[in-house]
Symmetry: D2
Subunit: 435 residues, 4 copies
């Protein structure tokens, strides 16, 4: 399968019966070297749709590529269009495609697995070794991202949208998919308790999905008061806990650039003085105390009735990728509970593994998502029904705090997406670029 949009400059003299046309694309050539270019695009191939991209959300991994031309261990080795949280409209239909019409509104699932290996056939296609994922530097040549005017995409990985789901919300189906997958892996029983560490986009959506899955109490934590307040005010979580920043930390503004693949979170590490000046044991003690405080907060507002409740929450979703947060996660979870590693971050971590081992706390990582888009669409569609007694997700549209129009303004979007507040002091949650 050829990349849907080539890197070659558009040919000068198009033949009369052209099969290609010209589009503009936002292309990253190196750290902060973002260029608006013209690319040629072929007609959609067998099984493909051509999509005019409408909205693309900026993710932490995009910001990382933008700043470093790399994301964690992955270094880009050729020009790369970013953006993988996208929705758009069908503008052309390739051969052998059925079920779509020009004008259909769709959300794009941008990771294309092989569909035939053992793990694909078993339904865990997110783990397919041959996965090609738009805007990631993993496969070479890179599978180009969605910050292009139009792209050709396999119809099988385009999800039709009902009228009540906006393009913004549809773009947010991507981070919502991470949250859905995280909660599916956790499989809480109704009435469970959950803790979410990190109140970035993915943390917020994970908290909301934990509530959707029936968790009776969902506590969200972050060092950023604004995000915690937002989470509770908008119903993403039932309780919020602001992790106190120490006086002399300067990590607050830069920390977010570490970004995870699946949404940025303000890390909690501000709470710690540098590891080198603090013994690891006292680090663990801090984490344990923090866990106790978080639990007592929840329990104080809801008097303790079941004796086991002070042992910890049923499930902790770690959405920051920070080692110190994994410590907190392990101490805050009850025996027999689960810690879900959502936020990608420190690849090598020093952890009190006996806490998990002796208490049989399962540690489950999640990598992207599988089979989540139909679920997400169903949940967003249900919002519109307006049932009298809740049970629907908070508004995703509301999470879009900043909007940039036109690919030519992508640079501003990336710069803003790396901050937690804008120049006016307003919360920055999700920045989107509209085509």
């Amino acid at each position: 399968m050829a990349p849907s949009a080539s890197d070659e400059p558009a040919p000068m003299h198009l033949p009369v019966i052209s099969k290609a046309s010209t589009i503009s694309a936002s292309v990253l050539h190196g750290p902060r070297d973002l260029r608006l270019e013209r690319r040629s695009i072929e007609d959609p191939d067998v099984g493909e749709l051509q999509i005019a991209v409408k909205t693309t959300g900026i993710c932490g991994s995009d910001v990382s590529y933008y700043k470093k031309f790399a994301n964690g261990d992955l270094c880009a080795c050729m020009p790369l269009s970013l953006g993988h949280e996208s929705s758009g409209t069908v503008v052309a239909i390739g051969p052998h495609v059925s079920g779509f019409s020009v004008g259909d509104r769709v959300a794009l699932e941008v990771g294309i697995p092989c569909g035939q290996c053992g793990i694909c056939r078993q339904g865990r296609y997110n783990l397919c070794k041959k996965m090609r994922f738009r805007s990631s530097a993993k496969s070479v040549p890179h599978f180009q991202g969605c910050l292009q005017e139009r792209i050709n995409h396999p119809a099988n990985w385009c999800h039709k949208l009902p009228d009540n789901i906006s393009f913004d919300a549809a773009a947010l189906l991507e981070p919502l998919s991470v949250a859905i997958h995280a909660v599916n892996r956790a499989s809480p029983t109704p009435g469970s308790t959950a803790l979410v560490l990190g109140a970035g986009t993915v943390g917020l959506l994970t908290a909301a999905m934990a509530r959707q899955a029936g968790c009776a109490a969902v506590t969200i934590t972050d060092v950023d008061q604004g995000r915690v307040d937002y989470a509770v005010a908008k119903g993403f979580a039932t309780h919020g806990y602001v992790v106190p920043r120490p006086l002399h930390t300067s990590s607050s503004s830069s920390s977010i650039s570490s970004g995870s693949m699946s949404g940025t979170s303000t890390p909690l590490d501000g709470v710690m003085t540098p590891a080198s000046t603090l013994s690891f044991r006292s680090q663990l003690d801090s984490a344990r105390m923090l866990a106790t405080e978080m639990l007592s907060l929840t329990n104080s507002s809801t008097p303790l009735l079941v004796e086991d409740e002070d042992d910890g929450v049923d499930i902790t979703f770690e959405c920051t990728g920070k080692e110190i947060c994994m410590h907190t996660a392990l101490y805050a979870t009850r025996p027999g509970g689960k810690v879900i590693m959502v936020g990608m971050g420190t690849p090598i971590q020093t952890l009190p593994m006996s806490v998990a081992h002796l208490r049989e706390i399962d540690i489950l990582g999640i990598f992207r998502y599988a089979n989540t888009y139909p679920t997400g669409i169903r949940l967003l569609r249900a919002q519109a029904l307006g049932s009298p007694s809740g049970f629907t997700l908070p508004s995703l549209d509301d999470m879009v705090t900043h909007r940039f129009k036109g690919l030519e303004n992508a640079r501003g979007a990336f710069e803003l997406a790396s901050r937690t507040v804008d120049d006016d002091g307003n919360l920055v949650l999700k920045v989107v670029i509209e085509a």
Copy 2:
């Protein structure tokens, strides 16, 4: 362990240092032979609490005993106090009990398993062969029900209540437990679709729990328009479907007396002419058409986006115990889905088993509940927190449509509980007796 309240008449002359006192009890001696009696009650034994019963809900099985002195195959063989949906206040504390104070408000879990057999140790204590369940004729001597002034009950099976849970709601924790157990067995993933057949107490609560567990669309059906309307208006379900009654059926008013153990449901069988005059094949065809109609109702209001959706719902909860409803359930469920048998009813059923077999629809029965009271309490406690964005159960207090004060008025409660509307035409959902 001796029964908590004996059947013997109270002794005339109590000794000076008495360990027993006298209580009033509502005792059934035969079909509709309900008597208000005086019984003696011992002080609470080791590990027991003495509970002054405040509220007891009337269940379908209670109505069955009241009318027939039997419930399904179980025939009472001695006087039997009914009532197993109860809450009350601790009035005395036996030896070796800790964690309780006089005045504590509690919900009673009235089934006492042995705690030591293989299945108890594996956490499925509801299946314990030695289970003793109050108000049931299964164990002999019968384990007396809660329609008594006070009872002694193992402290381990009394669940403390937070202030925000009323005695009414606490009594309803029993049918809610059935619903919680049903949904735990179904373990829907968030965004699933569900169908609930029967809108009695258990059907309503099961629908609400399906929503709590994250189901995006929950359709409830019943022959009774009032119940269906109630379910949708109050947010128990997202969609309602009233099964049309044929012209010449007379089963409407009496049908409810068939009652299930765990809540009564208006059966759907009114829709069918007598089986003897109708070939079984056409019965099945009717069930299939009914299933299609129910599905299309849901799908019409929510345009079909995922191609598989017209194959059926993910999970069907059958809460009527009727064979015809099992047919509908099997036809209405998608390949790979689940049918949960909740409502007890026809012991021998003729079913299109190949529909389940060839489509791998799991058929899972539920018998009472295990480990559900802490969950139920946590969910009801969460209601009080008043989060802005829903995700809480509908009010259980609101389900108590009729209230009788004093055990001496139990007869009226049983008579009313066997009807679906009262003399004023108001919906009868849950009838409770207050001590």
Copy 3:
């Protein structure tokens, strides 16, 4: 995707650069109207291999088509090659295929799902609505079976064989797949007890897989003494029980023709006098007694140590498709256990559903299989390692009791496959046709 071998007669005048060649095929045109024909076969298309079929096992569904030109509700409407338990050798390789060489030995997985619908992506591709399955009349035009000299088959559904797996054993990977899927759905914990009803090919293999999965005691039952003896002697099961035939039954020889899709089993119905002369209640009583006898057999040889053991086995695999066997299955399974419906048979069954409901016995059907071939190959490969302490499946080669050479002798194979003993009184288990 075009059928791999067309029904059209071979063209008379082949062009010079032919893309088609001529093969012989065994084709069924009506009940017992089996013809040896010449068909043309194209070169393998994109993604396809051309396989010279070596061994094909005859399944109960094949016998059903052979006798009735129909299998259950499915009626053939055009000429149909039978056979779906096949192995062969790669003789040509289509474009865009990698990982295969001419001469590779392969087992054929003959059901081709769409790979893109929701249920395929979730890993349950056996339930795909667009599934095309060779030798079945379900899809029209029928997807032709393997009793052809050569076929073109998607490389993705050809499984390479190590040297130690014979073509016979490889053909038996198909019924073994049914057994693997059945046991995967049952997911027994090591040390479980199992009962297998029916000792045909699928019953035997299911018993062996139950042992493979760690079941400590596996009892197999059949009306045929020879099969039961074989099962125990060869280690498929640990215990055998021969269901006594009543004196005046004549159903013994014909019963097998009812066949299931996935292997024939001698039904137990011989034990019953006609249902019409026997009340259903007494039928159930018979089933219950039979269940008790089967359990006591196992328990007598292994003195009862765990008190719950007399409550039934953990898992019952029903491999006959007979209603009376489902009765036995339900009564023979412990509370909290599982009944797996393996053998297809009576579409509409009258069952004591309360036995399952009140004891929470899960009823799980299986339809074919998914993700089983790699497992089966791994298990057969392990046989060859010859570890000192067992844990390997019984020999599958040994199950091939009769062998016919040449497609021209297919008729004899079908006739014999419908019997349980041959003319010499020898057991008939698996009949294969060698190309």
Copy 4:
């Protein structure tokens, strides 16, 4: 419940109608301060049996207490009888016990949970906070171990033995329980592949249970050639890999004293030069290379057929408790697989968590066991049936390599149990003390 045997010296003048008698006990008073003492024992209380202990196996945790009067973080604070792998004979029966006779042979499950807390009721009683476990210093006063002539033990936690299970094998039911629990948590599907790190008692039994559960290939590794050879020769594993020791390591003999609760394993750390002289990155590289070598060993003997197989095993059981082995475990496991932490060891570990996170490798710890004794007894009982085709565990009796008679010889047993070979160069696996 009072401790079953008190620490007080026996009273001098017993009353005529004595309820106590005098026994000998092996009691540890400090590091290597093991004394043979006289203790008094009461008659068995309500619900208790008095057991004459016949065989007790020495576990790694026993050796740790013997040497350091502590086990990991747990320090003994009063005299402590060791031993928790025990079998014996019923010599007296307390009130309210049924189902046992004097002379019954039993295995002792020595951890007594509360039975009433949430986690007990959910079937995970091994995680009960109130658990009292014999020979452990965790509860105070310590719950005395089994190296006593007789002990009183709750009948509910005594498991009757069939004749074919020896006292030796019955003592080994305790480490077998750890293995059963580990495999239950892993829940391999039949045909899975497994890797077991560490070939001590628990490693060997875990490997055997992995085979019992249907794993087709089980590779065991250790630095000790003798143990690896034993494992393969006796059928505990299908493949063995001896981890090469570097030339200049001196950790071989002392390393075992670190012992885990549930069986000792020769750690693999000999392979590494001190961490301080080696960068952590190169440590990880070594672990990755080691993992690759282990996998290629298995795959070379069994030619690679399924393309995913070189991605790692389905399940790795880490039985050494060493950090370096956790590294190997993570690298050796396939995407979507599981690492089970069995061996307790280094409480704080530095791990390449992204390897687990990005590949969704679940990390599951196990702590002791729950609901395993009936399973173990069923599996050992099945050994005696002598089915022709394997599927039974290797002999547990054979694992008892050394035997000491009389509690007065306990010291010799502890000294030997801390070694991997005896003075004659014979393998030391399980050392038992016979009463």
